[in-house]
C-alpha cells in the first residue's frame, strides 16, 4: 500500500507540474486558434482517478481438502463475494484526438480487491452438542501497473456536455499482492455457542499470482469543458482474459496451504468509476489557448 501511495504521489506531482507550467505560461502568449481546428487534431494530457470493484471468476477450482464423506461433492468450493470490496486507481492520460475519435493511452496503477470465504463443519453424530464450525474469509489485494490503450468515440462534439464511449486493450504488470485471511470459530464442543475471531493471517502473496494480466476494457462517460481543461466522468468495465494464478506456486505458501487455502485458477472482472482532468498538450507546450472565437 505504501508503494501504491508513493506512485499516486509521483503521478499527482507530475500532473501538478504540468498544470503550474500552464498557469505560468498562459499570460505570456495568446496565439488564439479556432476551436474547430484546435479540437480536430490535438493531444490532451492529464490524470484520472477513482474507485473500482472486482469480481474473481473461477475457471478451475482447487482445494487442499478432499471430502471422505462426499467424494463427488464440491462442499469445499470457495464462495466468492463479487464486487464487494472497494479499491482505487490512478492514471496518467494521454489522448490524441482526431475529429470524433481519440486514441487514449492511460498508464497507471490499479488496486483490485476480491474476497472469498470457506466454511468447514464437524459434528459428532452421537453427541449433537459437539460441533465445530470454522469460517475462513480471505481478502486478496493486487496492485497492478497498467497500460491500457483505448479508442474513444465522441458522437456529439459541439455540445457542452460531450458523451463518449471507449473500447480498448490493456496490459498490466503485478507490482504487489497481499492476502488477509480471518478465521472465525464457533466451538460448541468446548462449551461455546457464539463465533469468535480465532486467527488472522496476513501474508505477502505476490508469488501466488502471475505478473501478467491481459484483457480488454470498455466504457462510457461524459466530459465537460472548464477553461482550458476538460473534466470527465466515466464508467469502465475491465475484462481479464488470462488466468492470473501462478500455477507453479499454487502450493508454495505453507501458511496458507496449511490452513487449506489453495488458490483457484481465476480471471478478474472489474468495474471502475473515474474522474479525469485533461489539458491540451499544445496549450502546455506552445501556450495556444483553447478558447471560443
Amino acid at each position: 500500500m505504501n508503494r501504491l501511495l508513493l506512485y499516486s504521489f509521483l503521478l499527482l506531482l507530475l500532473v501538478t507540474r504540468v498544470s503550474f507550467a500552464q498557469n505560468r505560461r498562459s499570460g505570456a502568449r495568446d496565439s488564439r486558434v479556432s476551436q474547430k481546428d484546435f479540437l480536430n487534431k490535438q493531444f490532451w494530457v492529464g490524470f484520472k482517478g477513482g474507485i473500482n470493484y472486482t469480481k474473481a471468476k473461477p475457471i478451475d477450482r482447487y482445494s487442499a481438502f478432499s471430502s471422505m464423506n462426499d467424494p463427488s461433492g464440491n462442499g469445499f468450493d470457495k464462495q466468492y463475494k463479487n464486487y464487494s470490496n472497494m479499491a482505487a486507481q490512478f492514471a496518467l492520460v494521454i489522448n490524441f484526438h482526431y475529429k470524433n475519435f481519440a486514441l487514449s493511452f492511460q498508464p497507471g496503477i490499479r488496486r483490485m480487491t476480491y474476497q472469498y470465504s470457506n466454511t468447514y463443519n464437524w459434528n459428532d453424530p452421537l453427541n449433537p452438542g459437539d460441533y465445530l464450525q470454522q469460517e475462513y474469509n480471505a481478502v486478496n489485494k493486487l496492485d497492478y501497473l497498467e497500460f491500457p490503450l483505448l479508442l474513444k468515440y465522441e458522437p456529439l462534439r459541439h455540445t457542452k456536455l460531450v458523451p463518449f464511449i471507449q473500447l480498448g486493450v490493456y496490459y498490466s504488470r503485478l507490482n504487489n499482492a497481499f492476502k488477509e485471511t480471518t478465521l472465525n470459530v464457533t466451538d460448541g464442543a468446548s462449551g461455546g455457542g457464539s463465533s469468535y475471531e480465532a486467527e488472522k493471517i496476513s501474508v505477502g502473496a505476490k508469488d501466488l499470482y502471475l505478473r501478467t494480466n491481459l484483457g480488454w476494457t470498455a466504457g462510457a462517460g461524459v466530459s465537460y469543458p472548464l477553461g482550458n481543461a476538460r473534466l470527465a466522468l466515466e464508467l469502465n468495465y475491465t475484462h481479464n482474459t488470462n488466468n492470473i494464478t501462478n500455477t507453479a506456486n499454487r502450493y508454495d505458501n505453507d501458511r496458507l496451504t496449511g490452513s487449506g487455502d489453495i488458490p483457484d485458477n481465476i480471471k478478474l472482472r472489474n468495474i471502475s468509476v473515474s474522474f479525469s482532468i485533461l489539458m491540451p498538450l499544445r496549450f502546455i507546450i506552445l501556450k495556444e489557448n483553447y478558447k471560443t472565437e
Partner: protein, 414 residues
C-alpha cells in the same frame, strides 16, 4: 525550441512504446509458461477431510498404483479395541479422494509397510482376538482382502519386502517365550523360514513398550527388518536386553549385533548400500543423528555399539524421532532421502549423497497445521509422494498426501 520539444516527445513516445511492447512480449511468454504448469498431477497437497467429530486417521504408508493414483494405508481409532483399526484409501492421480474402506474391526494393528509386489499390494495386520498375524492384500481400487492367518505368529511389529526372494521379512514378538522372531513369508502367506532371538528375562520389561507402541499410547519404537545382501538379513528390535540391530541368516550361525541401550539409544532407520556399508540414523536420549555412509561389521559373531557410528546431529528433529530412509533419484543421480518430524511440527526430508555422505539439501512441508510423518515414495514421474497426519483445526487427525514434481524436488537437491 519547438523542434526540440517535438523531438523530445517523439523520443519519449518511442521509449514508452518499446517498453510496453517488451513487457507485453514477456507477459505473453509468462502466460504460456503458466498454462503449461496447470498439470494437476505434478504438484498437489490434499487433506482428506471427514466431518465426523469422532473420526481419526493416521496414515502409515503410501504406494502409487498403475493408473497413477495412490493407495494409502492408515490406522483409525475404533471403540472395540485399544489397538488401531485399519483404513485403506484410494486417491486419484490428482490427489482427489476416490474411495475409503474401514476394514472390519476384527482385524487390527496394520503395520509398516504397504508393499508392492508386481502390481499387487500387501500389508500385515493382526487378529483382534487371537493376536495372530494376518497377511492382507490391497487392490488397485482400494479394497482390502485377507489372504491368510499365519498361525502361531503373534504381535506383528514390522514387515519389509525382500527384493531378492520376492517374499516378506516380518518381525514379530513371541510373548510366551519372550523372544523376538523374524519370519520370511511368501505372498501366499506361507512361512518359508523363521528364526527367534532371546530378549532376556528379569526387570527388563518389553511387553509394556511394545503394547504402547502398537496402541499409540507411548513411544514409537523403530522396529525394522531388511536385507543386508546375500543371505544376510537384519532386524532392529529387542534382543539381549536392548533394542539392537541384529544381522543374521535363517540358519543357526551366530548373529552379529550392533547394540543400543534399552529403548533409549537405537538405530531408527537403515538402508544397505553394499557389503558392510549402510546409511542409518539413530537416536540417543532424545538426540537424532544421521549417518549417511558408515561401515558396520556384519560378520557372524561380531559385536559393536551404535555409539561408534559417527554422523551428523540433526537438532531440528523431534526427540527420538521416527525416520524413514530410502534411496531415490534426484538431479539424475542416486540420493538418500531421510524423512522425519521436526520440533515445529513439519515433515522434513533431508537429501544426502550416498557415495560421499554429503548433505545435498532439504525440503519441509507444513506450517500452520501440525504435520507428522507417515512415509514417502518416489513416484513414477520422478517426483515424491509424502503421506502424513495433519491435525485439522488443531484437533482432528486426518490424512495428508503431498505430491511434488521431479522439478520441484530437484530445486532442493544441490
Amino acid at each position: 525550441m519547438i523542434s526540440v520539444a517535438s523531438y523530445s516527445v517523439s523520443y519519449s513516445r518511442i521509449v514508452l512504446f518499446v517498453a510496453v511492447l517488451l513487457g507485453l512480449l514477456t507477459g505473453c511468454k509468462e502466460i504460456k509458461e503458466n498454462n503449461k504448469n496447470t498439470d494437476p498431477k505434478a504438484n498437489f497437497l490434499t487433506i482428506y477431510e471427514n466431518n465426523d467429530f469422532s473420526k481419526s486417521f493416521i496414515p502409515i504408508d503410501v504406494q502409487q498404483t498403475a493408473d497413477g493414483g495412490y493407495l494409502v494405508l492408515a490406522k483409525r481409532r475404533i471403540t472395540e479395541s485399544s489397538f488401531y483399526g485399519i483404513y485403506l484409501m484410494k486417491a486419484d492421480n490428482t490427489g482427489k479422494f476416490v474411495s475409503g474402506e474401514e476394514v472390519s474391526t476384527d482385524i487390527v494393528n496394520p503395520i509398516y509397510n504397504l508393499m508392492k509386489v508386481g502390481n499387487a499390494f500387501y500389508f500385515f495386520a493382526m487378529d483382534r482376538l487371537s493376536l495372530e498375524t494376518k497377511l492382507m492384500s490391497a487392490s488397485e481400487d482400494g479394497t482390502a482382502t485377507e489372504i491368510s492367518t499365519i498361525a502361531g505368529v503373534i504381535y506383528p511389529l514390522y514387515a519389509s519386502l525382500d527384493e531378492g526372494t520376492g517374499q516378506f521379512i516380518l518381525q514379530h514378538y513371541n510373548r510366551d517365550e519372550l523372544k523376538t522372531a523374524v519370519s520370511r513369508i511368501s505372498v501366499a502367506g506361507v512361512v518359508t523360514a523363521q528364526r527367534e532371538f532371546n530378549i532376556g528375562f528379569g526387570d527388563f520389561d518389553v511387553e509394556e513398550p511394545i503394547i504402547d507402541h502398537l496402541t499409540g499410547n507411548g513411544k514409537k519404537l523403530p522396529f525394522l527388518t531388511g536385507s543386508a545382501g546375500g543371505s544376510t538379513y537384519y532386524f532392529n528390535g529387542f534382543y539381549n536386553y536392548t533394542l539392537s540391530t541384529v544381522f543374521f541368516s535363517f540358519n543357526t550361525s551366530t548373529p552379529s549385533v550392533l547394540q543400543g541401550y534399552k529403548d533409549e539409544k537405537c538405530i531408527s532407520s537403515m538402508v544397505n548400500l553394499g557389503t558392510n556399508t549402510f546409511s542409518t540414523s539413530k537416536y540417543a536420549y532424545g538426540t537424532n543423528t544421521f549417518s549417511p555412509r558408515v561401515t558396520i561389521n556384519t560378520a557372524s559373531g561380531s559385536i559393536a555399539s551404535n555409539s561408534d557410528l559417527l554422523g551428523k546431529t540433526i537438532l531440528e528433529l523431534k526427540p527420538d524421532a521416527q525416520v524413514f530412509l530410502k534411496r531415490i533419484t534426484g538431479q539424475g543421480s542416486p540420493v538418500l532421502a531421510y524423512n522425519s518430524d521436526t520440533k515445529n511440527a513439519q515433515i522434513a526430508i533431508y537429501f544426502y549423497d550416498p557415495a560421499s555422505g554429503n548433505f545435498r539439501g532439504s525440503k519441509h512441508f507444513g506450517y500452520s497445521n501440525p504435520y507428522e510423518v507417515g512415509n514417502f515414495i518416489q513416484t513414477s514421474d520422478g517426483g515424491l509422494a509424502v503421506v502424513g497426519t495433519t491435525y485439522v483445526a488443531g484437533r482432528f487427525p486426518r490424512i495428508v498426501l503431498i505430491k511434488i514434481s521431479k522439478e520441484e524436488m530437484n530445486k532442493d537437491i544441490h
